[in-house]
Amino acid sequence: MTFLFYIFAALALFGGMGVVICRNPVSSAFSMVVSFLGLAALFIQLNAYLVGILQILVYAGAIMVLFLFIIMLLDVPKEEKRSFPILGGLGAFAIAGAFALLLVSVLGKSDIGSATIPPIEAASGPGNTDVHRIGELLFSQYWFPVQIVGILLLVATVGVVVLSKKELK
């Protein structure tokens, strides 16, 4: 269990590093897929089966295909030389370092993080899977946000169509 966690966490983190380091956008996209697969495995390790599958289907499937499609469509060249902006680079490392410092200090002080995974009681009855539970929550307690998200998707679809037209009248 712990062994698998380290493997998949390393997969997610090295995939994420690949996105930042690779000069070719296509390599970045494929590193991203690796990172998302590792994350999905971590989700499944946390008994979040629906979310893990959604991560693979939506992110590693749909969104990354969209990215690759746009990279192919625009024929983006790889960056010629690795000339990171000096000020931006310093800022990036300063911010990432400050964030890491914050994380370590907060996690070190609080004892909430040392909790081990509590066991889940055995599922009883047919309606006790996580898909069932999430669906029930979505369509009872969270019905209004679901409607709003539907409108958001409609707006995004219309917006993309308008943006993609050759000329606006």
């Binding site: 712990t2 998302f36 994350l39 625009l74 040392s114 979505l138 998200v149 943006l163």
Partner: protein, 108 residues
């Protein structure tokens, strides 16, 4: 080796992944790669949500509100990617570049 997994493990992975994404957004110049790093940061936040949801049990079952929030995050991220890539295509049509340092007309 056989030490049990704690909440800290998952929070640390999530935090490091978020920091990697943030560094990518600040360092890279290609708009498409910047977008990918944004997605990386969103996914890192997702891992935190799932971990907290798993470690807080109610009646022996995880609390699923975190999963519902994650569902919304994934939906909004998909919409955001669609609109963002459409904007990048429109930008490429008028400027022939996806380099953020070359899109600076409004800067001066």
């Amino acid at each position: 080796m056989e030490s049990a997994l704690t909440l800290n493990h998952f929070l640390l992975v999530s935090g490091i992944l978020f920091a990697i994404g943030l560094a990518g957004v600040l360092l890279r110049r290609n708009l498409i790669v910047i977008f990918m790093c944004l997605e990386l940061m969103l996914s890192a936040a997702n891992l935190t949500l799932v971990a907290f949801s798993r470690f807080r049990l109610e009646d022996g079952q995880p609390t699923y509100d975190g999963h519902v929030l994650l569902f919304f995050i994934i939906t909004v991220a998909a919409a955001e990617v669609a609109v963002g890539l459409a904007i990048i295509v429109a930008l490429f049509r008028s400027r022939e570049t996806t380099d953020v340092t070359k899109v600076n007309t409004m800067k001066y």
